[in-house]
Each structure stands twice: as C-alpha cells, then as structure tokens.
C-alpha cells in the first residue's frame, strides 16, 4: 500500500506545481503583454510554398492525405460518446479494434493497423512514444488510460515509412493534446458533460481551456466514468485528471508542461458456466475456453472479486524555439504505470494486490522543418529512452536513436522523401519459452543498425495523389 500513497503524492505534487506556475504566470502575464504586442507588429508573414496536397475531407473533423489521417476531436462525430481513443479508432478504415466490453475502453482491448498490433506500431502523445515493455500480461498499450478529455486531434500514419517515429512497422497513432490558447481574452472556454446509459454506465467530465495576456495558455480537465459492465464482474471505474500549460516566449518560442493521470479500477470477467454451482443467470454465459489475447491465460471466478487497480501518469515538458530556417524541439517525458492485481493464479489460488509497475522516460532533441534551397524540408533528431520495471528490473531496454528525413519537392507534381533512423538498443530481457525451458531470465544483448525509408508522392491531378513507400523497420521485442 506504500506504493499507492507514493503515487498519489507524486501526482498531487505535479498538479500543484502546474497550478502554482499557472497562477504565477497569470499574475505576471499582463506586463509581458505589451512586449508581445510589439513583437507582433514586427513580425512578418513567412509563406513557404509546399505544392499541391490532395486532402480528402469525408466529413467534419476527418482529413485524409497520402501522409496521414487527421481527426479533429472538436468536430468529429459518431453515434455515442467519444470517451476514449478506441471509440474513435473503431470508425477509421484500416484499423481493427477487438474489444470484450464495448461500454468502456478496457485494458484488454486489441488495436491493429494493417494486421499488426501495438507490439508493432507506435502510440504517441505529442510525438513521444507511450508503448510499455508489455511485461506481465502483454499490456503494451493500456487503452483504458487514454481518455479524450484533453485531446485536440489524432494523427494516424499507416505503414512504417516515417523515420520520425520510432519502431513504426504497422503505423503511428499520435495523440495531440490541447495546450491552452494564446489570447488576451480573460474568459476561458468551459465545457461540462454528463451521460447515463444501460448497465448503469455514467460519465461526468469538465474542461477549461484558455489563456492569459497572450503569455500563458492553459487547459485543465477531469472526468469520471463508471459501468457495471455486461459480462459478470466486468465493471470499470475510471477517474482521470489532465493539465497543460503553455508559456508563449519571445520570438515565437513556447514552453509546454503537461500531465495526464488516470486511475482505473477494472473487474476481470469471471467464469459464468451453467454447469457450475456459482452460475448467475442474470449475466451472459462465459466459459473457461474463451480466447485470452491480453489477460493472463487462466480462468477467474466470481468469489473474491478479481480485479486490478491501475494508476497511470504521463508527464511531458517541451521547449520549441524557431531557429534560422527551422524549429528546435526539446521534449522530455515520463510514463509511469502502477498496478495492483487481485486474481486467481494458474494453480487456482487467489493472490491479492500483486504489485507490478512500469516506467518509461526519455528525451527527444529535434531540429525540424529546416527549409533549404527552396525545395528541401529537412528534419534531424535524436532520442534516448529507457523502459523498465522499477520494482524488478528498472532498465529492460535502453534505446538510443538518431534520424534524418528530407522532403524534396520536384516541380509541381513529385515529392520524394528519403530518410533513415539508426538504433542502438541495450536489452536485459528473457529467453523464449520455446525449447529453452525455465528459468528464462538473464538474456542480455545489444543490437544496432540503420533503417532507411523512401516515399515517393505523385500529384496526378489536383484531386488525385498516388504514393509508394518502401522502408526497413525495427521494433523492440515484446512478450
């Protein structure tokens, strides 16, 4: 239980720091407002020709180009509430979502792009990877933690051709958060929503988005969701809180701080077999021979209320500074997940509050969109990332990578995008069960290599774009 209190303290401390910085900045912001006005007068419009781009806008909030699909959350509509990322992804062509509870995004949901799942695609928040190592149950991405309260848009890149995103074989899903507005209007945008539905499912959410004196932007949101679930014991309670502050600095530079936190209390569906004495006819039948894509593969029973409680924290700090023909970005990040699982083991005994944690931290330094020689747009960057299990093995993977991409415009119709990414990965993992037997731990190795990519776009007509891409990709091994 000590871990829970430490986690709560860390979360509260971070939110207090964010709020304190926000209040302080509102106070001093009015003085900086005049300087900002002077800068705006001096600012000259800079227009860079990027040629013709075919954009398919099938409906409000969705844009499709040869590069990516962009979903703008304020405009995107579907029947039903859009509470989590999987609520959006179910509507997008080329993406498969497999759920066992459609009432709320669950940790066992499986999302695939072009036939490959989270182990072979990248999920990002503001351009940084959030995939876990997947240890202890293959929870590489826990979709239940990705609420939509503070999401501005979602970018989906199909295929592995973008070297700007690490380990992207199947593609990239990049969540762009709301970071507040640059405005001198005092009144913020406030939104409050409440909903209720079958299976005693209810949701409450509130958000505030605004800015102070053209100096600081802020976005804070909180939500609460609960459902009894459809299958027996498959309840879920999710509380989340998010905060983002953006400081608008001189020369168009920005410094952004962000925090996302969720607390998911999730009940594992339990066997509900009419041949058993504990069968409850009020719930659907559910047998021991069901598929188990994500959960640890042994049956759970109604007695003892098998469940987990998971706390997830995403912290980000990002500095962006226009410099010469491009923009410098320095992005530090942290993801921490802490689970307390109470389930039946393979031996049929009940284990209470088994603690498992995961932690990812890293930094990205990037010089992007460097416009050179009228027809080149170059991005170069480097990233360092550590992924681990603090309680058992703090650094399972240590990833160092560097990348360069050049978008070359050739006349009005052709765009060629070469690039490569270099990886050096230190691993402290385990041996496969196939043939090696137990114990499986103690496998240490390192790998490195260059992974090139080439994409060619041809603008056949203003309404028709063709492209072809070939790339070599790398992924972290996962359970």
């Amino acid at each position: 239980m000590n871990w829970k209190s430490r986690d709560t303290k860390t979360r509260m401390l971070w939110m207090v720091v964010l709020l304190a910085i926000g209040i302080f900045t509102m106070w001093v912001g009015s003085d900086l407002c005049l300087a900002e006005e002077e800068r705006k007068i001096k600012e000259e419009a800079k227009v860079i020709p990027i040629g013709t781009i075919t954009v398919m806008a099938p409906q409000p909030g969705v844009e499709i180009t040869t590069e990516k699909t962009i979903i703008r959350m304020d405009e995107f509509k579907k029947p039903g509430e859009v509470r989590t990322l999987t609520d959006v992804l179910t509507e997008i062509g080329g993406i498969d979502v497999m759920r066992f509870n459609p009432l709320m995004a669950g940790p066992g949901d499986e999302v695939s792009i072009r036939g490959l799942n989270e182990g072979r695609m990248v999920i990002e928040i503001d351009g940084r990877r959030i995939n876990h190592t997947g240890h202890y149950g293959r929870y590489i991405v826990d979709w239940s933690t990705l609420n939509m309260d503070d999401i501005e848009s979602i970018e989906i890149i199909r295929g592995g051709h973008s070297v700007l995103h690490p380990f992207a074989i199947a593609g990239v899903i990049n969540i762009i958060t709301k970071k507040g507005k640059k405005t001198d209007e005092v009144k913020p945008d406030v939104s409050v929503k409440a909903g209720y539905g079958k299976f005693d499912t209810y949701t409450l959410s509130a958000s505030v988005n605004g800015g102070v004196a053209n100096t600081v932007g802020y976005n804070f949101s909180a939500s609460k969701q609960e459902t009894d679930g459809y299958l027996r014991n498959n309840f879920q309670k999710t509380d989340s809180i998010n905060g983002h502050l953006t400081f608008f600095l001189p020369n168009d530079a920005t410094f952004t701080l962000g925090a996302k936190y969720s607390d998911v209390n999730y009940g594992f569906p339990v066997i509900n077999d009419p041949s058993r004495a504990d069968y409850d006819p009020d719930y659907p039948k559910y047998f021991a021979d069901r598929d188990q894509l994500r959960h640890i593969d042994w049956p759970q029973y109604a007695e003892n209320n098998p469940h987990w409680d998971k706390h997830t924290t995403y912290l980000d700090g990002m500095l962006q500074v226009p410099l010469g023909p491009g923009t410098i970005k320095v992005h530090g990040y942290f993801t921490g997940g802490r689970r307390w699982t109470s389930t039946y083991t393979a031996m049929g005994t009940f284990e209470k509050d088994l603690f498992v944690d995961d932690e990812t931290k890293g930094i990205i330094i990037e010089y992007r969109d460097i416009d050179l020689f009228d027809n080149h747009r170059v991005t170069v960057g480097t990233e360092y990332q550590e992924l681990g299990w603090p309680d058992e093995n703090p650094i399972i993977y240590k990833v160092k990578s560097a990348y360069i991409q050049d978008v070359i415009t050739l006349g009005d119709r052709w765009t060629v995008t070469p690039g490569f990414r270099y990886y050096h990965v230190d691993m402290d993992t385990y041996y496969s069960q196939f043939g090696a037997g137990w114990p499986t731990d103690g496998k240490e190795q390192e790998e490195d290599g260059f992974y090139p990519s080439l994409k060619v776009d041809f603008q056949a007509t203003p309404d028709t774009a063709l492209y072809a891409a070939v790339s070599r990709s790398y992924r972290l091994p996962c359970p």
């Binding site: 806008a57 969705v62 029947p79 072009r114 406030v190 539905g197 598929d291 894509l293 093995n393 114990p439």
Partner: protein
C-alpha cells in the same frame, strides 16, 4: 527478469501481409455526409517449427473483409441523425474454430441549441440497435440495444 511470454507466434521475416484499403467520401446535397471504407487483408506465414497447439497468429484473428460506414444527416438546424455500421467478415479463433461474420448498426441523434449565450447539447444513442449476436474476441458475447444519453453545456 522472468515473466510470461505470449502465445502469439509470428516474426516479421516469416510473415507477409497484403491487402487493399478503399475509402470514399459521400456527400448528397447539403444534408447528408458519409464515409465508407472497405478493407481487404490477407496473410501468409512460413512454418518455423515452433508451432504448438496453443500458439496462434494474431492476423488470423482479424477479418479478411471489413466494411465501415459512418454517416450523418442534418435533419433540421443543429440536429444531426448519426449512423455507424460495420460489416466484419469471418475470422479464426485463438483456440481453434471460426467466428461468423456479422453486421452491427449504431444510431444516434444529437441536437445543439443556444440559449442565453451558452451552447447546450443533447445526445441520445443506441449501439447494436439491430440486436446482432456477435463477438469481437471469441468467448466474449457482446451486448444488444445499448442505449445512453448525454447532456452538455459550453460557455
């Protein structure tokens, strides 16, 4: 570190996946907008010698054919009827056997209105309105006629 390996069994160098995606934007008059998507995907795998009776290929659990339709109809000012429908083809199950194909339909109605300089929203919807028996993951029966409503205000 010692933990649980998964039962999924495919390495990229023993695996080929190919397919086609077709997406269409449909606009009929000023009131109707829709997106339709068809996806075909197929895979081939080599025999690696590691196959066992409890291993599986994840792409085998995905449908070969899939159609998604997302549509909106502007019934009257700021009132939208919404429909989402999916056809999912037959798939294999992890532990053997096959799942049948299915079609689901979700419908909803959203009305926005302004009062006293505030924007209000009311949304009513029903998922699986046709009462289809289906499973996305084998063994997990999905619910029917899942209704809900949502109210919101922006100011």
């Amino acid at each position: 570190m010692g933990t649980f390996g998964s039962n999924c069994l495919y390495n990229i160098d023993h695996f080929k996946l190919y397919g086609a995606e077709l997406e269409a934007a449909i606009r009929l008059g000023e009131r109707f907008r829709a997106t339709a998507a068809y996806v075909y995907q197929k895979y081939d795998v080599d025999k690696t010698g590691f196959e066992d009776n409890w291993t599986y290929y994840l792409p085998a659990l995905l449908p070969k054919h899939k159609v998604k339709l997302l549509a909106r109809y502007n019934v009257w000012p700021d009132g939208w009827l919404q429909l989402s429908s999916r056809y999912v083809g037959g798939r294999k199950a992890q532990k053997g056997g096959e799942l049948d194909d299915y079609i689901t339909v979700d419908v909803g109605f959203e009305q926005k209105f302004k009062f006293n300089r505030q924007e209000y929203m009311a949304n009513f919807f029903c998922s699986n309105v046709t009462g289809t028996d289906y499973e996305e993951i084998p063994g997990y029966e999905m619910p029917k006629y899942v209704w809900a409503f949502q109210l919101g205000v922006k100011f």
